[in-house]
Subunit: 307 residues, 2 copies
Amino acid sequence: MTVIYERVALIGLGLIASSMAHAMRRCGSAREIVGTARSAETRKVAAEIGLCDHIVESAADAVADADLVVLCVPVGAMGAVAEEIAPHLKPGCTVTDVGSVKRAVFDAVTPHLPDNVTFIGGHPMAGTEHSGPRSGFAELFDDRWCLIVPSEDAAPEAIQTLISYWESLGSKCAQMEMDHHDLVCAVVSHAPHLIAYTMVGVADDLSRVTDSEVVNFSAAGFRDFTRIAASDPTMWRDVFLTNKDATLEILGRFTEELFALQRAIRQGDGEHLHDYFTRTREIRRGIIEAGQDTAAPNFGRAPGGQT
Amino acid sequence: MTVIYERVALIGLGLIASSMAHAMRRCGSAREIVGTARSAETRKVAAEIGLCDHIVESAADAVADADLVVLCVPVGAMGAVAEEIAPHLKPGCTVTDVGSVKRAVFDAVTPHLPDNVTFIGGHPMAGTEHSGPRSGFAELFDDRWCLIVPSEDAAPEAIQTLISYWESLGSKCAQMEMDHHDLVCAVVSHAPHLIAYTMVGVADDLSRVTDSEVVNFSAAGFRDFTRIAASDPTMWRDVFLTNKDATLEILGRFTEELFALQRAIRQGDGEHLHDYFTRTREIRRGIIEAGQDTAAPNFGRAPGGQT
């Protein structure tokens, strides 16, 4: 694999950044990787496991001479980081991010950046319920989408280089307009996460159903919710606060629909329920055909529940 | 493994029954397996793949001389099957079922049964999103719970024999009172399923987000919902219609909680969101410690998304 960026700076060393480091090592698309994190403990762990070529103490130090700067901090922290690094950026470099919301990041970051750098938003649609520098692995992005959301004045060559870089990490790339991105993600990710958090919270509150029952008998549906609801609290707080409008719109639609189904249950309208459930089954088929999940039974786990 | 029942009759040959047949073959706890299904096509497939020792045309034929009769039909069909088989049951046999709701099955089935047979409800807490006689596999019940819900007058020996039988298929067993069972299942299974169906339906309705975007970018949360929402429509229609009260109660709690989180988003109350998400993360830890799921990253799928 040829080198795409000489020097890449990772600001923040959580699941996404640490997976990027492993994936860059795998493919050799960066000659040198510099990493930093706000927490001394995180920097210490990253240094111990040899995550990057250099671990430095500040974001300002990390971006010096970097050709690509990747902001891997929670969405709510992007603006402050941009302000800190702005005076130290190499002219001509590309600044990108990996946040799940794009309009808010653009609005927070770009006012700080000098004219001689290019900002291009990025959103790798991959993750696990784990976080921190030890949680990364090289295969996280393989065959997953990375959405590229350039600002209007970004040079086509800079965009193409960033796309090549994400492809070198294993991703498929698609370009998307900023506000459309935030709506799509509200549907496929943000609203589902809030709903999962809610359901898990309800189960936790119900004193008549003891904790151990919820835990023991979770296999039939609830388990998938708990996995989603175990995702990083800070990251998700920021997602909801910064993609407020789209998330609330989708949740409004969701509630409407849920009330209609509750009424069908109350009224014993089996036909309505059956029709609805038949329709939703089709979407699942599309996802399997698109290669975004497996058709293997037992909800994708190894048969026998030995997983 | 010693034989526990000489002859077992499976009424209905979907995912659960076909997995039971495979698991019985694996452990040898039944000397002879008789199966039947209402649909001629299902019986034909079952015969082709050699699922049972005998495939017969009617439930009445299937139960003749059976020591254990397992009702594996949707909850709404249990009463009619009980009426059909009642005159043909072997005196002293045990009748059980595998439905996800226990009060409604008990009320539908037991009035038809003669005094010289024992009814004991059963609920194997295992499944996949697939259905039909080809979908079964021997390992489905391994290390999963099977809830045993006996009627009050069931003989302890008959209960113990049924427990031994489910253990021979790989399950762990727990006894539970009927109405408590229905409430626990509303929390861990029925409400989560309705919520997943709803969210998938909403995504399907949103014309601004095209189908292919929903499908392509499903990896971040939505995918788990579609898997749940691909479950058998008839089975789930019957679950909601027959566990109406508990499901509606839990959905009411869910809506209340969702509205509180929506308000926190609208008001920008990040602390409320962060606290809530931190709490839900704990439940997940409990589920992993209880062995009901894996801590492997990437939401339990093989790293690299090759699954």
